[in-house]
């Protein structure tokens, strides 16, 4: 359909590469097909499509920023040590009483910052306690990939919770 050409050009004009532009146009058309009944026929179809496209571009950028943040997890962790591997910035002591009341909400917030596959891998392995072989199959990744994903997910979540004041105590109930 001609509209898809228009959308593709708009996505490229918004600064997306070819592959990303293709993805957002595809996503936009899927929303269009699913929600066509909601479309107010007196309005402009193109304006409606542009609105969906803009949302899809925003979603893609957010996901890209989350992926980038995960790639930076190791360097953030390394920055906590000196060149000999000793702590420069050791884990912080938490406010245990505060932590107990808020820990669940905070973990939820921290989880939202993870890209979806990181969150899913973490859920399957840590919350469900599934074996690595099974998680690899479910996610379609190699054991090495899963190792990297879980390492980054744990490090990122731990860091996020610490920033909120939860981690490090020797005697909290958690």
């Amino acid at each position: 359909m001609a509209e898809s050409q228009v959308l593709w050009r708009a996505a490229r004009a918004a600064g997306l590469g070819e592959a990303d532009a293709e993805e957002v146009v595809q996503e936009t058309l899927l929303v269009f097909l699913r929600r066509f009944d909601d479309f107010d026929r007196s309005a402009s179809l193109r304006t409606w499509l542009y609105g969906i496209l803009r949302n899809k571009i925003r979603e893609l950028r957010r996901a890209g920023a989350r992926e980038q943040a995960m790639a930076d997890v190791e360097s953030a962790l390394d920055a906590r040590f000196d060149s000999t591997g000793r702590w420069i910035r050791p884990p912080r002591r938490p406010d245990a009483a505060l932590a107990l009341d808020q820990a669940g909400d905070w973990l939820n917030e921290c989880l939202k910052r993870l890209p979806e596959r990181y969150r899913f891998a973490f859920f399957l392995r840590e919350a469900e306690g599934r074996g690595t072989g099974e998680v690899c199959k479910i996610l379609g990744v190699t054991a090495n990939n899963l190792g990297v994903i879980l390492f980054r997910a744990r490090a990122a979540l731990r860091e996020c919770l610490e920033a909120k004041g939860i981690h490090g105590s020797s005697d909290a109930t958690l």
Binding site: P91, R125, R154, L157, I166
Partner: protein
């Protein structure tokens, strides 16, 4: 000698079965001596407990149920450091 950074990478990797016995012993010995690394390992344990609690719908403000959950974690990847 195991350095703190190395230990942190090993325990965050979370798969002790894949770590040679000699290294696992080194982790234990290091943890006896290093309070910062103990705090780090605890924070990872707490993350797992919190995650399980969250997905099982246990409020984090319920320390008794959380303690029971902690005790039920039979597959804890690294040694508990309660003592």
């Amino acid at each position: 000698m195991l350095r703190c950074r190395e230990l942190v990478y090993l325990v965050t990797g979370g798969e002790p079965a894949a770590v040679p016995l000699r290294r696992r012993v080194a982790v234990r010995v290091h943890l006896l001596m290093c309070g910062h690394c103990r705090a780090y390992v605890r924070s990872l344990e707490r993350l797992r407990i919190l995650a399980r609690a969250l997905w099982r719908g246990i409020p984090a403000a319920d320390p008794e149920r959380l303690a029971r959950l902690r005790d039920s974690l039979h597959d804890e990847p690294w040694p508990r450091l309660d003592g």
